[in-house]
Subunit: 265 residues, 4 copies
């Protein structure tokens, strides 16, 4: 059962980021649309720094959890007795967290006085996603056909987000790219939960049959149902989170109708 916990933790890491972004980016978008003078950039910068710090800390937590969870490798990499590597999928997942840690550090550093190039944070996010995607892609799942299928499906979300973050290096603050990235993080998060339920059912018993043909086809569809639900959640989050901002700006509109009108374009 430890693996269910590991999968759920990974799911939460991505779900939290995705859900937070599904609130943050619509607010940022409406703020920039309503107030052309961009006076809220300070608020957005603070959010970015807090987000980066949290990301780095959670990544550190993830590294420790992958190693020290009961049944984990406890930092041993090679079992000289059994003459085999100690892996259990924990080491690759740890490596995955490591790159998200780098990304979190870069998120913070670009807001310091170090004069780093604009877009470095997005580049390191893209690198973390590419590293994750290739780690799962080049992993050899042996005969576990269903496990391989589950991770291959996830690679759609991972590489999609990696491409999205790469584009953001060049097209920073593009709302649709930011929302698209958020939706793929939600998808990745909920899919890690699904992997947990399929491979290590928390109510005990073995996982789903690896060689069952129908399981594979059902899970392919299921992946896209996750995404459909994720899109609906994003629509709801975006709509609700914008309401207080719009209500607030309507008060201003009465006072100064001209400025608002010209900035609505």
């Amino acid at each position: 059962m430890p693996s269910f916990i590991g999968s759920a933790l990974r799911g939460n890491f991505f779900l939290m980021l995705g859900l937070w972004w599904s609130i943050k980016y619509p607010i940022k978008y409406i703020l920039l649309k309503l107030d052309s003078g961009n006076p809220h950039s300070h608020w957005i910068h603070s959010m970015d720094i807090i987000e980066g710090t949290m990301k780095a800390f959670f990544a550190l937590g993830g590294i420790l959890a992958e190693q020290l969870v009961p049944g984990g490798p406890h930092l041993s990499l090679y079992d000289s007795k059994a003459q085999d590597w100690v892996q259990l999928m924990s080491w690759p997942h740890m490596t995955m967290y490591l790159f998200y840690g780098f990304s979190g550090v870069a998120d913070v550093l670009v807001h310091t006085s170090l004069k780093l190039p604009v877009g470095l944070d997005r580049l390191l996010l893209a690198l973390a996603l590419f590293a994750e995607g290739f780690l799962f892609h080049f992993h050899d799942y042996k005969d576990a056909a269903l496990t391989e299928h589950l991770y291959h499906l996830m690679s759609i979300a991972v590489f999609g987000a990696a491409l999205c973050a790469s584009l953001e290096v060049f097209q920073r603050d593009h709302t649709l790219l930011e929302l698209f990235r958020a939706s793929l993080f939600i998808l990745q998060g909920s899919w890690f939960w699904q992997i947990g339920f399929v491979l290590y059912p928390p109510w005990g018993g073995p996982g789903w049959k690896q060689e069952e043909h129908g399981n594979k086809n059902f899970l392919t569809m299921c992946f896209f149902w996750h995404y459909a639900i994720g899109l609906l959640v994003m629509a709801a989050n975006g709509f609700i989170s914008q309401q207080p901002v719009i209500a607030n700006s309507k008060v201003k509109k009465v006072k100064d109708p001209w400025t608002v009108k010209s900035s609505q374009r």
Copy 2:
């Protein structure tokens, strides 16, 4: 034979969209070229809203048809008696329609007062196409080598259109991208008909032999003949649909030669 009907319905969904676009976009192009003041944008917006509504309704119809057609799954997903999933390719196709439904809703919403980001309609169209492409790509066709080949060929049209719609998020109203997208929808539509004829001949009898080597190679060519015919149809549609607009503008040209001249650049 129910599956022939299903395939034909899917074909019609894409053919209608593609053929409509092969008329709409050339007209839009010539309107914008002749009248630099862009006075026809109202007409184009109305067309977009009607198109989105139709798309959403047809997608809903498709979902119901996939489920309730005789031989369909009738909303049952798991057959606990046979201990297997009820699929028949109907559930994945239903999932496909679901995302086109989302795309139709987005087409309408971007024209409301909700202040959604420009390009959201194109992004959701791209998502629908990517979802369709990956649904077919990750489906396991078991030993049905010819069925797999038919869907793999179609994925050229699907992923091609998905990339095209993704580019349109950034390069909106690019005539060549719009026409390219239309041509791939026509291809996809006529190919769904071809799939129906190959796998479930409407005049009865079994489908073509799955393991026949020559069938595979013939259908590869056949796919591109479909595209060649589709391109000719598009050229004809574009040419014919532009004639009334040009004739109409020539009348104007006599009256006001100067404006037209400067807008022909």
Copy 3:
């Protein structure tokens, strides 16, 4: 031996285009660089129209040759006696020529008064290349591992040129893209000759052993040696073809040093 002729004809089609471009584009580049007023655009347009006409005629010739060459299918597609398709790789190659014919027609039409969108010629060239690439990619070569390898290697040149032409839809008249496209056409042309020599040696005898492991690895390298030689040929062609233009402009430079100086930037 008919197949050697077919392969050589295909090779010449692409070699001629590539070599012509390796002369045309450097001249166009130096003309635009030396004369900022772009007075040579008329010459370039004429070249484009002649090129398109030639391309369409050669494509028509290729279609007829593929069908009517001794040993070709002579327009028969299905042999009802043997209950099998008549293919021999001639039909796919005919389909390939068909799309290049479309591309040639488009090259001419964009220079007429039809007001076609700018870039349509490049789009149809890209479509012809993509069609060719997918035709070879989805062909089933059965056990002919070496034939498959030869066509897979060529697909690097085909898809590379397809991507290049797609970019040119958006970045028209970009010298490096034009030169890159030329180099890949030269590669494709010389590789068709190589395929002819490997599979149907003109001095008789069987082709190289299909299952020989070393043949595969040698031909992989050989493909890049073709490209290395192609690059050297392009460098020589570009250098030599620019000399008369530069010599000509130096005469002008004496007369009017100021204009030339400012346009050298």
Copy 4:
């Protein structure tokens, strides 16, 4: 053991380039950021010419080393006695060096009076990387599953750098692309060393077991640990190499505070 030397030499070629870039590009970035008048472009141009010359010479050295190293092919390509090709992976690696040689020559030529199109140097670097990537991708490793895995992993770094250099054709002097390219060269260099240690341990004995499942999964992770260390080295190099430039500019700042302030944006 000769093969360990070959692998180490290749590793050094890429490591040197990558490490040099990890120093050069941060300095170039800070110079351009601090001095808006771009007075250091002469220094950067000189560096480019020296770099190109060195690259061409090392490539020539690599070609000779691959051929003449004890155990190399000594320019013989076909062993007519054994009726097989003489390859040993030396010929493909020689071909790889050949294209880097072209790239080095182009680096120098773009700085001459030949009026070559801007970006030609980046295009030829991209071609060298694509050629290398496809050479390894289309090589048939027979049953050497681990060797194939090692080269497939490297193709991430190779194709990544190829895409990066292709983008630089259009977005020249983009600091993040330059740094990203440097990081992938460091990765490729250190991975060539890793390949040497895995396949031909310098302390004698056979290489790692090719068919061992765990080896494959360990090396996948190991590849990304190489990259993580490479990123840390780049961060250190970039930080340290910028210090003298910043210190130097602070002296100026005292003298002329206004210019520096406006250029810090």
